[in-house]
Structure formats: C-alpha cells, structure tokens
Symmetry: D2
Subunit: 212 residues, 4 copies
C-alpha cells in the first residue's frame, strides 16, 4: 500500500512541474508529456500536481527574484515556494538543457540569499526531480547540471531522482510520437515518484535544522 | 544544540570518505585534507568517520562488484555498504573529476542490480556528499557529474551537499598550502555536515519503500 | 612578425563577438570586457572586430533560422554568416553558460541543415573561440559545452581556443573590477588570437572539401 | 577525388587511436570497433592508422610525462607525439568518459609545459577527433569534456570532429552487436575523416606560429 510507506501519510503534498520546452502552448511538447506522467505517478501517492509551461510567460533575464516591470517570474516563484516537490522538465538541445531551463535556474539562484527567520534558504526542505526528453542524447548530462544547480540552491535529491528518454543516436524520434511509454521509463518514473514522496514527507515533518 | 536537531539523534551514523587523489599515501593531498575537514564537521554530530585513499588500493577497471584476482574493490565496497554517508572527495584534473574517482563510480555502477530482499538497490537510504579541490576551476561541474552518477546508483543528496575550493583562474594554488581554511568554505562544509546528518538520520529511521 | 605567420596574410578577416551577458547595454558587463580584449588581440593581426550584446535583441526561443514575427535572430545570423571568427563570450551562472548563450546555440543548431551548393554546412570554415568570465567557477565546463555544440554546428576550434577568468571559490569578484588584467589571462588571450587567426587564414584559403 | 582536396596531398599522415575501453584485449570492445572504423575512413585518404588498447598497458596515475618505474605511458606518449591525428575513443560509463580515458587526459595534461624550441606546446599542429559508444546516453557530454581537455592541451578540433553511437534510453545495446553500422553513423564518421585529414594537412604544412 503506498499509503503505508511512512507514518506521515496524512501530510498533504504539492508538486509543481516547470516545463522548459522551447515551444509555447498549445504546441504539443514531449517534455510536457513526460512532466505530466511524473505528476500522474506522484498523484498515486496523493500529491496534487500542477504544470506550467515556462515559455508561455515572460521570465526576464537576470539573477534577482524580481527583475521589475513585465517580469512574470515572481508569479512563477510564488508557485515554486508553494510546492513541496519541483519537477524540472526540459528538452535536450545541442546536448544541453534548454535556454528556458537555464533561465529558470538563473532566477532560482537568488534563493540562496532568501532565508527564513532561522536562516534557512527558501528551498530547504523541498525535493527536486528531473524529467528529460530529447531527440538527441544528453539526458545524463542534463540531469547532472540540473541536480548540481538545484542542490546548490537548496533542493534535496531523492534516490533515483531522474527519469528520461531519448532514442538511438542520429536517429531522432520524439517522445510524443511513441505509441506507448517504454516499460523501463514507466518503471523509472514510478520509482522516482515513490522516492520523491517519501523524502518530501520526511522533510516536511522534520525540516533541516538552521545553519550553525 | 546539534543533538536536538531530530528526535532520532541516538541513531549512530558512520561516514566513509573515499579520497580520489592521484597521489598515493603518504604524499600530502588537498582532497584528503578537505575530506578530513568534512569528517570533522560530521564528527560534531556524533558521526564516526573513516578515510580511504583509493589509489593506495588496486581497484581494477570494470563494472562488476568483483573483477577477480587481485581486485581490491570488494574490500572497499564492504566499507561503502557499511557507511551511512559517503564523502566523495576528488581533485580537479583538466577540469574533470579524477580518473580514480571515475573508477569508483564505474565500480559502484554495479550496485543498481544489487538489491535487498525487498528489491531496493544496495545504496538506497545512504547519503552522498562531495568535496572537491583543484588548482584549476571545475568544482561545480565535478559536483554535477558526481551527483548524477551517485544519485543514479541510489544515493540521496541532501540540501547543499557539496563543498569545494579552487583559486583564481590560471593562478594555481593548492588547498593544502593555504594558511587557513577560508571562512566561506568552512561555513559551507558545516552546512553540508548538518544537512547530511539530518537526511541520513531520517532515512536510517525510515528507509525508502521498496520499488512498486 | 605577426604578418609573417602565413603566406596568406593579405586575407582580410572579420571577427564577431556575441556577448551573452544577462545584462542589457549600457550596463557594464565582464563578458563584454573580455570579448573586447579578444577582439583587440585579434586586431593586432588585422582582424576587424564587432561586438553584439545578444540580450539587447529579441532572440526568440526555437531551433529554426527564423522564428517569425519580431524575431531578431535573422539579423544576428547574418552577422555570424559574415564572420570568419566567432568569439562566443558568456558569463557563468550556476556553473553553466548563460541562458542567453544557450539560446544562441539553439538558434545556431539549424545551421547543420543549411548547406552551400556543395553540401557544406554554413559554418564550415569558420573558427570559434571562447571567452568566459564568472564570479563562481565553471569556465572549463562552459568551454567544454560550447566547443561541443559549436563544433557539432560546423565550427573549427584552434589550439588553445578558450580564454577565461574567475576568482577564488566562494569569494566572488567581477572581472570588470580588476585593476589590471592578470598576465596569465592576457597571455592566454594572445595565444588564442594568434591561433584563431592562423586557422582562419588557412581555412579561408582552403575550405573543407564537400562531404563525400 | 579525395586526393584533390588540397595541394598538399603528398603529405603523409599518421593517425593513432587510443581506445579507452575498460576491457583488456582480446575481449571484444565497441569503442575499438568504432575507432577502427574511423581509422578505415581516414585510410581512404592515405592516412596510416594504428590502434592501442590503453588498458592493456600500465598507465600510472599522475600528471607528469613519466611517473617512474613500471609506467608505460612514456611508450604511449611517444606514439602520440608521432601522430598527426589522435582518435580518442571511449565508452560511456555512468554517462561519463571512462576512467581509462580520463587517465590519458591527465597524463596529456603535462604537454602544455613541453614546448618545442620556439615555445610551442608539443601537441600544437595535431588534430583530435572523438569516437564515443555507449549502452547508455552521454556521447555529447563526453565529446564536450574531451574537446575541452584536448584543446586545452593543444590539439585542434576540425569541423564535426566527433562520431558516436548509443541506443534508446534504458534499453541497452552494444555497438558491437549491431548487424550493420547505421548509415547516419557511417556518414558522420566519413565527414569527420575528411575534415580531420584536411585540417591535419593544412597544419602540417603551416604549423601555428610560436606564442607571442
């Protein structure tokens, strides 16, 4: 029973998927598809989920929490602050995370100096997981770069915190166009969800102590 | 009081530092120095620590838990299995983690298929943290590559799970030769220790549920 | 004598620096400063140089040469097509190349399918060099990611094709604020310039043969 | 006609493939297979090729050209010095280049201080190309890390200097076991060979000028 996995299963959790596709809504997006699958897997453990396509919003370049007039990051930031689990979903371009994903990381960089009244950075206690798709290889590297940045910003990474898919080298295919999600991907996404929920419940019940 | 930080402070923890210097003992090593500082910081929270200089041992190339005659990895592996917290310490060479560090990751790659009787990979519930030194830049990237690999293998990464030092670009200096550990490094190491202990205690009390 | 270095010194060369700062003009930018120093060094070998601050222009997300209404990439792209040497200059954010730099790489990704009448991708024969600054470490990794992407797109990388600067770990300082460019950086920039000019002259005189 | 592509086609070239498999000879190796295909493609342009399986030799950890008793790097180093084109071939492990490949890069790191009588680092004028195989993704990242290191050491990277193959994510398959080399890989390898030969001939005829 999923519900048995910790004593704290009554803790309500909220997950936010930031989908970092280069394509605005309503264009179909492979990273959005995978993000939704992660949210569905989390939903099995009573986690409420929400998806935002970042490129639909005007996130200004910069490294402050608010870059002023017209900047829509503060609205997105409020959603991140409200979430227990961040699902960071990005496509692979030239082997890297997308420019939209990097923009999000740059804006989150400000959070290390945003502390609670006990000196804890604002993202402490939150979980980050990754969902990467590509029509070229790059997922392991993108997971690496994202984990490093998100962990530096204060997120905790649960065991097996990444799920991903790409096809054979130089033989591009879109995740969207698969007839069926491969079993291995589905299994990885399920493991990720179980672990994310477990770690999120533990940390929500017992937040990190304040820095010394 | 450090001792107050969770209800489970009586849980005894053990940390293993795998020092991935290219230099055998007893040559002085900057990565060993930083690893020891991490162990000292963990020691303040009643964590017993042990250091191993990996290059002192004959770790054979390969991706199995035991590569046969003369392979000393099985001895090191037993130490990893016995630890709650892995301190992965590496120097920076050509901007990358050392060949010794990569060798360790290759050998740990076998652990995903080593599961307990409930199907959990052998590293589930363990914490990994990073200590990187260099006389050229590369720490963020090494932390990225290490987190991705160690997390894929089953380790959990606590908030702010990396500490590091390097000096000005093209102006090499060794961590060993500093008169005093910079305050910022010391503070980062302390945060890392607090968070690693907190996450390790939580997971030792409540292990991840078995994969679905 | 610089002028003696090849028989083809009469070949006129043009260099374009794409400065990928997050800050619009006229805010001072460390990456622009370093880009200008690279252009100055190239200027000693009769290379005409031009700088563009990319964030001053509306470069739309996407991977086509023209993303339609309001997209200013086609104007920038024309400048890239016109250049013999691309100076790719980026700051370091969360240890990565900037979102603006990644945006440029995404847009350049289209060039592999843009071929001349003999089937050569549009960037064949052009040289790419890197200039990276940061108030945290990351230069080697950014050079890695940029070289891989730019080379895949068709650029040639001359020996020692990167120059960079960052200061001590966790002790942020801006390149802009240095009283004097460190000698080691200046020397590296000069080597880069000599090699870029040499390779550019060779390839301008003898373009790569068409793909088989 | 390949033979027409430059005026200097009489220049004899030599290519060395360093195969960085974890498996000693005579175990079959996917990276060796791909390295041989690159050498075959180079052979079409009158380049003599040689392959060395690095792990068959005792390359000691360290960053000097000779690490003393029992170190077989000096023998390998002589082969690198003798080559015009280095084919750096590595498998993908935990998403990274192999520990054997990193060992080679560490040993090559010494070459920046090994200069000819005009002050040029020993690798100036040589070409480096990459061949990466994996049963998990990572090729773009490995190409990135290798290009950055090899370029820093003094190698020049010709346009489209990397070839690679891996299969679908989480669906491991070995390059060795393919019935036929995919056309796209074959085409990429051929392009790489044409460009490597072109750049090597240009630089062999006109070496980089000495640093200023």
């Amino acid at each position: 029973m999923p519900g048995d996995m910790t004593a704290d299963t009554t803790t309500e959790l909220h997950a936010l998927a930031l989908v970092c596709s280069l394509k605005p809504s309503p264009e179909p997006s492979s990273s959005e598809l995978m993000a939704r699958q992660v949210l569905d897997a989390l939903g099995e453990y009573d986690v409420r989920g929400e998806t935002v396509r970042v490129v639909d919003h005007d996130v200004k370049p910069g490294v402050r929490t608010n870059m002023g007039e017209g900047d829509e990051w503060p609205w997105l930031r409020a959603k991140v602050l409200d979430a227990d689990i961040l699902v960071f979903a990005t496509p692979t371009w030239v082997g890297h995370l997308s420019s939209v994903a990097q923009r999000v990381l740059e804006r989150l960089d400000a959070e290390l100096s945003e502390t609670d009244d006990q000196g804890r950075p604002s993202m402490y206690g939150k979980i980050a997981v990754l969902a990467v798709v590509g029509n070229e290889d790059g997922a392991h590297k993108i997971i690496a770069d994202s984990f490093q940045a998100l962990n530096d910003i204060g997120f905790t990474i649960p065991a097996n915190g990444g799920t991903y898919w790409n096809y054979e080298a130089m033989n591009p295919k879109d995740y969207l166009d698969l007839e069926k999600t491969p079993d291995a991907v589905e299994g990885t996404t399920r493991k990720l969800a179980i672990n994310a929920v477990h770690a999120a419940r533990l940390l929500k019940t017992r937040q990190y102590p304040p820095p010394g």
